[in-house]
Assembly symmetry: C2
Homo-oligomer: 205 residues x 2
């Protein structure tokens, strides 16, 4: 889907990434301010980390305590609801593939609604979004057939689609979450949204 | 030196860190705006990386091109002179120990002047600040006895002091450059200066 809309910007995020969650709360309004739309791409950071040698932030020595503190401070600074989940990080394949299915069958906008519902379930309500039983009611509330969505998420075609999406992301050197590409210009991190905005406003940085 | 001045904030930086350089250009003015002073602490990221398993940014797969681009964009965004050095990253033990010697013998302010001169030599003029022959004339221009400084930097007492300083930094969980600690609150990255400012202004975040 990358680059398929004129003027659209590409937004990559992992459902287990707090910074991705903060970015998800801000990206559409930021883009709209400059007449842009957003293509939402669920990402699997685990696949990326196999290439970069990265590891989940809380597992890095010295850094663990800091990142939890930073998540909470960023949430307050950006004024976004956030509660530290009991289990973090978590595998996000099922939620990511469910989103691909929603995008394919119900369109991009429903996909965004689903993504925001998944993020809120995890980072506000502390629900274990790894599980179908958690994702199904979220889908239902959005008018999505949850059982069909989970069947789709676990189907070979959607798994293959996820694999291709990750290959494309890696090809574009997407190495973190959130990651935005606007007119070929890459931005990593919600803390680069000030520079992203400058770029969208002035056409350069 | 950490915490030895009432109201002072602690600023840690590695001379090979572009983000440390950007922070060095901004930290004193930011602190002064809120009636704070700054204790400058040269840091050896190599020592930290042995603990965190980190590696210099350009060596991370997928991330290499991005970080050079980000250095240049940040410089433009913050309006700070910057030219990509031919050799990057570089070992910074000599410059860091030279700064400790300057701080001890000529005071904190001269130490800051020296640090800014070293950063400019590396990130503006592209000089190899690993070498005594490069550091000596920088010192001379600041009225520092360059030969005495290099002798001091290579002396056992200053090496021991550097070691203790790094142990203290690690004890305080300083894991990157730049790193600021204000009233016990840690901030990693020049991209957290907006939050640091909010904290200095409101006393909380």
């Amino acid at each position: 889907m990358a680059g398929d809309s004129q003027g659209a910007i590409d937004f990559y995020f992992d459902f287990s990434s707090p910074y991705g969650y903060f970015a998800a709360a801000r990206i559409d309004a930021l883009a709209a301010k400059y007449g842009r739309t957003v293509n939402w791409h669920p990402l699997l950071l685990g696949v990326v980390f196999k290439i970069t040698g990265g590891q989940p932030l809380p597992m890095v020595p010295l850094k663990g305590d800091y990142v939890y503190r930073d998540f909470e401070r960023c949430a307050r600074f950006y004024n976004i609801p956030y509660a530290r989940p009991d289990v973090f990080p978590i595998p996000t394949q099922l939620a990511a593939r469910a989103m691909l299915w929603v995008q394919e069958h119900l369109g991009a906008e429903k996909g965004v609604q689903f993504a925001k519902a998944v993020y809120a379930a995890y980072f506000v309500d502390g629900k274990t979004i790894t599980e179908a039983e958690v994702l199904i009611p979220l889908a239902t509330r959005l008018g999505i057939d949850g059982a069909a969505m989970i069947d789709g998420a676990n189907s070979e075609p959607v798994k293959a689609k996820m694999k291709v999406a990750m290959e494309e992301a890696v090809e574009r050197k997407v190495f973190g979450s959130p990651f935005v590409i606007a007119d070929g210009e890459p931005f990593w991190g919600v803390d680069r949204f000030d520079q992203l905005e400058h770029f969208l406003k002035h056409g350069k940085l």
